[in-house]
Symmetry: C2
Subunit: 344 residues, 2 copies
């Protein structure tokens, strides 16, 4: 826990997903003063004590996690506003925050926060997710905040066409123009990789490798664009096993090859769709650095250049959203983010 | 067990895969006299008794399973030849049977059986698998026998171009011309379906349905050919969840919709590849009847007509292979298969 709070804060911002909770204490210029990373995702909240559970004053798992994330920050500065994004606003979350329909002007998101009332304590403002109803429906929760952070840290506030890539368990690719989200796609690449590795025959011949095998990864990336890639990913993934049987791919290289196959198919499909739409947009990547490095390899291979990488997009997004919602004054909004420090 | 063997047999044929063992007793015209279905796949063989295991005469799991499958048949007619196909010839099998390289003339397979010697008892002849080394490597074990059965039961012995579809855990699509296998593709559709359903977020909103929802299946089939299908299967599968969130797809319909998505992507890719090659071949489907019905829907939707279905392909293939290997005389080879009866 932080003891003594040297700088005066202006906002508490929570990135509250399925498997973890990150809390940020931000100053009046949107700079991060403190960060905490807790394991209390909405599907694994702390359990209320049994004796307490019987009383009317028992705290819910959400309240318990919230207390650990920022209770001391709020006791030191009781009037701080609190904003949160992610699955905390889902049907399984603290309180459901409705989806906004795409296309949507991003500043509108800040005017439609869902307020969780907390019996005399500071309320929590939850950011809505986005839903796309044309074509096959699509949804996001949490990524809209990252997109907000990326766009409003850009020179000109994201005036030009931009494609924001958010690789992860479910990768999102978000098209935006002049602060308006116009379309997005989801690829279940990360989760499919884990399911194939853990629960199909492909995992059986894989062995642990001491370090990532980026040559095997690149070999996989190229398959989607090769003649054999036309059969699609349901077919090419079998080559992970067949190359092993023919002695052309060691067990320790198979996981990275499979990772390359999947990311390659994702990025090749994306490149095809972008080319059908005409001029290629500027691309910004945002996410885990190691994973972004893999996507950079694939984007380069499929002719999508070398995108820039955005950092601290979630906390920047939560800050800009709080400003646009009037939770904090816009005083020094254009200040760049500073590096964060972790406290337990 | 069969007591009394009314008709004289000419061949014992075994279809011995990873998870089960089927034994056939065939007469001199290739007709099935008896069938047995045992759970002794090569990955789940019966365990030798502990006391027996210490002696030199202990039978291996393969011998124990073999005895249950056809020991009595061989005691009644000790000189019957025995042929086997499938994973029993893999590196984890009874004895490894080398792969033959594609393209391959099918009658050649029959001349290259691997003989398992059994200490004074009847030997077992194992059919080799096929390997394709051009492009991405690909392998099969067992399906080459089904292809043999389909082709050599065709009028003219499979003289024309034919594409044989073998849907299953790993679907195979095998191109053959004048008795020669020229190319094959593998799609891991069945196994990917099981992994997505059992081990990703897609399974969480699925509920059991009293009967298959073929309308949901067809809806999924069509997606691969719709504009949204261009993003590829890593993307479209997420619509299983998103359509549930928007109330457009009930929990009980989601599994069949996902099945349709995957089979649709497989068949759409196949149709694209066939059109790039020029004239469409005649298609023959071979496999589980319920699954073949699903593939017929998808093949029809993607303009590949209404293929015929082959039945009893494995036992017919084992018969024709035994004839081509000289294990049995070719006497009445052209007789059609008769219906089988199951004995425990």
């Amino acid at each position: 826990m932080t003891t003594g709070l040297p700088a005066r804060a202006a906002l508490i911002a929570l990135d509250w997903g399925t498997s973890s909770l990150r809390a940020y204490r931000l100053d009046g210029a949107g700079r991060t003063l403190d960060t905490r990373h807790l394991p209390w995702g909405i599907m694994r909240l702390p359990q209320p004590l049994q004796e307490g559970a019987a009383t009317a004053n028992a705290l819910s798992g959400f309240e318990l996690a919230f207390e650990q994330a920022c209770g001391d920050w709020l006791r030191a500065e009781p009037n701080l506003p609190v904003i949160a994004c992610g699955m905390v606003g889902s049907a399984q979350g603290w309180q459901e925050a409705a989806y906004l329909d795409v296309p949507v002007d991003l500043p509108r998101i800040g005017t439609l926060l869902t307020r969780v009332e907390r019996a005399g304590a500071t309320p929590v403002h939850i950011v809505p997710g986005l839903i796309q109803r044309h074509g096959l429906p699509n949804v996001m929760r949490g990524e809209e905040t990252q997109v907000f952070g990326v766009l409003f840290d850009q020179p000109g506030g994201g005036a030009d066409d931009v494609l924001i890539g958010l690789p992860g368990t479910h990768s999102k690719w978000v098209n935006a123009r002049r602060g308006r989200v116009t379309h997005f796609d989801t690829f279940m690449t990360g989760e499919v990789y884990a399911a194939l590795r853990g629960h199909t025959i492909l995992g059986r011949t894989m062995t642990e490798a001491p370090a990532p095998d980026m040559a095997a990864f690149e070999r996989g990336v190229k398959v989607a664009g090769a003649p054999a890639g036309r059969a699609g990913v349901l077919s090419t993934i079998f080559s992970t096993r067949a190359l092993g049987l023919t002695g052309e791919l060691a067990g320790g290289a198979q996981a990275d090859y499979l990772s390359g196959l999947l990311i390659g198919h994702e990025v090749a499909a994306l490149a095809d769709m972008l080319r059908q739409q005409g001029e290629l947009p500027r691309i910004v990547l945002c996410g885990d650095d190691t994973l972004c490095q893999r996507y950079l390899v694939a984007l380069h291979h499929y002719g999508l250049g070398t995108p820039e990488q955005a950092r601290n997009a979630t906390e920047r997004g939560l800050w800009h959203l709080a400003v646009s919602a009037g939770l904090v004054p816009a005083a020094a909004e254009s200040s760049p983010p500073i590096s964060t420090k972790e406290t337990p």
